[in-house]
């Protein structure tokens, strides 16, 4: 039996195509992936991301626990601030990638990947030497993302919270349509936008109000298909693709979320070793030169020899090219290298390029 978000009926009423996404019955597209993708880049898209998990860490020593299980330095967060971070195993591979919201000095709110939620919870609870309260609260929150250059004007119609005062990667606890909501200026599309956490019982009302409020701004519902092409263009990692238990944040190009100088944390020793000895492999972008599309799992060859694999690949609707990300031996993971992607037994020419592929104009 697939799990459903509180918006399941709303998706079906909109004619969404539904798919099994890690055990969740989720909308992959409504009007079409390309249309939804372009709508998010030029106007705004509305996403149901209620499948995402939420874990809350509370207690006087909440910071100690959060900082021990994550790679970024949560001590640097102010109340109301968010950062991206890694949850690592002791051997330095990813349990998950997460967003850490500091609600207060004794309360951290973690947004985690849907299919990793229980594993993350158990992992954090297992390392709780500080008597913190760690709670797996995925079912207490629905999450709706409004993403795109016009997201702010749409959401502002429904809230008294001054959205222009919420900076990128900050959040505010306020109200949307008179009901409590955590409003975070975060996202997974490479555009400006907001992720709103609400009571599941309120989710359908908020969803429909947002669709109404956004109609004249060109807002459309957008599914997981567009979410994936948007995040790929923005060079954002997806668990199970760019990162997993066998990959370290340094290999994935995520050294900016690793703070080796903050004190002890899980995975620190192997990361220090990797840094001192040099990396064996690194993530790099590519664009196809020949006809064909490199997709997840395809072999990458350098000078005719197997050298790595594609983690994510497909068409980039914004750039109108076929792009992707792949792992290559660190010495070869530099832009400008001629490579081949083996597309259904046929080597096709490609060239390495830097990540991200797309950056919005600010």
């Amino acid at each position: 039996m697939l799990k459903q978000t509180p918006l399941n009926a709303a998706h079906r009423a909109l004619g969404a195509r539904m798919v099994d996404f890690g055990g969740w019955d989720m909308p992959v597209q409504y009007s079409g992936i390309l249309d939804e993708h372009n709508t998010v880049r030029t106007a705004a898209g509305l996403f149901d991301v209620s499948h995402m998990g939420e874990i809350e860490v509370r207690g006087p020593e909440a910071l100690q626990l959060v900082n021990y299980v994550t790679t970024n330095n949560a001590a640097k967060l102010a109340a109301g601030q968010v950062h991206y971070s890694g949850l690592l195993y002791e051997h330095g591979g990813f349990v998950d990638d997460i967003l850490v919201h500091k609600v207060a000095g004794d309360h951290y709110f973690l947004c985690v990947n849907a299919s990793n939620q229980d594993k993350d919870y158990e992992h954090i609870a297992a390392h709780n030497r500080w008597n913190c309260s760690v709670e797996n609260h995925g079912e207490r929150y629905a999450q709706i993302a409004v993403q795109g250059p016009r997201a702010i004007e749409i959401l502002q119609k429904l809230t008294a919270t001054d959205l222009s005062a919420i900076h990128y990667y900050w959040f505010a606890d306020g109200e949307v349509s008179g009901a409590p909501a955590r409003i975070a200026r975060t996202g997974y599309t490479g555009e400006d936008g907001f992720e709103i956490y609400v009571d599941p019982g309120q989710a359908e009302a908020r969803w429909n109000e947002l669709l109404d409020a956004g109609r004249e701004s060109g807002l459309k519902p957008a599914g997981l298909g567009a979410r994936n092409t948007l995040r790929m263009e923005a060079g954002m990692a997806l668990y199970g693709h760019e990162i997993d238990a066998s990959i370290s944040p340094l290999e994935a190009g995520l050294q900016w979320i690793v703070k080796l100088d903050k004190g002890d944390f899980l995975g620190k020793a192997p990361l220090e070793r990797q840094k001192a000895e040099g990396l064996k492999r690194k993530l790099i972008g590519f664009e196809m030169r020949g006809r064909g599309i490199g997709r997840d799992g395809y072999e990458v060859r350098v000078a005719g020899e197997p050298a790595g694999w594609v983690t994510s690949g497909g068409p980039s609707p914004t750039l109108n090219k076929n792009i992707g990300m792949c792992y290559l031996p660190a010495a070869q993971a530099q832009p400008g290298l001629a490579i081949e992607i083996v597309v259904r037994n046929q080597p096709v020419e490609a060239v390495t390029i830097p990540i991200p592929f797309y950056k919005r104009a600010k």
Partner: protein
């Protein structure tokens, strides 16, 4: 959607229309709808021998790659050049301008084993 009466269909969602000893092959409206936005079409070159039930190319949407299975055996005489430049035509006109290949039939009797329009429509639940 209505499926042309003069076409024959496979359960893998290809169609073939026969004129003389030549079969024109495409994918169905249902297939393109299931695939979503089509961004790339890989077709065999003229002269390629294809065999009924065997894959001869692929259609890629934003999300996925899908094999094309030949509804008939024979030799490819033409691949639709429109699709190299404008694969999205396959979403717009899959039963017309966006045909895939023309095949000189090795055995015109192959077609008899395929589904009629009514049977295909029933198969996909329309």
């Amino acid at each position: 959607m209505t499926y042309p009466e003069n076409f024959r269909y496979t359960k893998e969602h290809e169609w073939v229309s026969v004129e003389g000893d030549t079969g024109t092959v495409g994918i169905t409206f249902h297939a393109q709808k299931e695939l979503g936005d089509i961004v790339y079409v890989d077709l065999p070159k003229p002269g390629t021998q294809v065999e009924v039930g065997k894959t001869f190319g692929s259609v890629e949407s934003v999300k996925a790659v899908s094999d094309i299975y030949s509804p008939v055996s024979g030799e490819v005489t033409e691949a639709n050049s429109l699709l190299a430049e404008a694969p999205e035509k396959l979403n717009e006109d899959p039963h017309g301008a966006a045909w895939l290949v023309k095949i000189r039939l090795a055995n015109p009797g192959d077609v008899g084993a395929l589904l009629s329009a009514a049977d295909y429509a029933a198969y996909i639940g329309e």
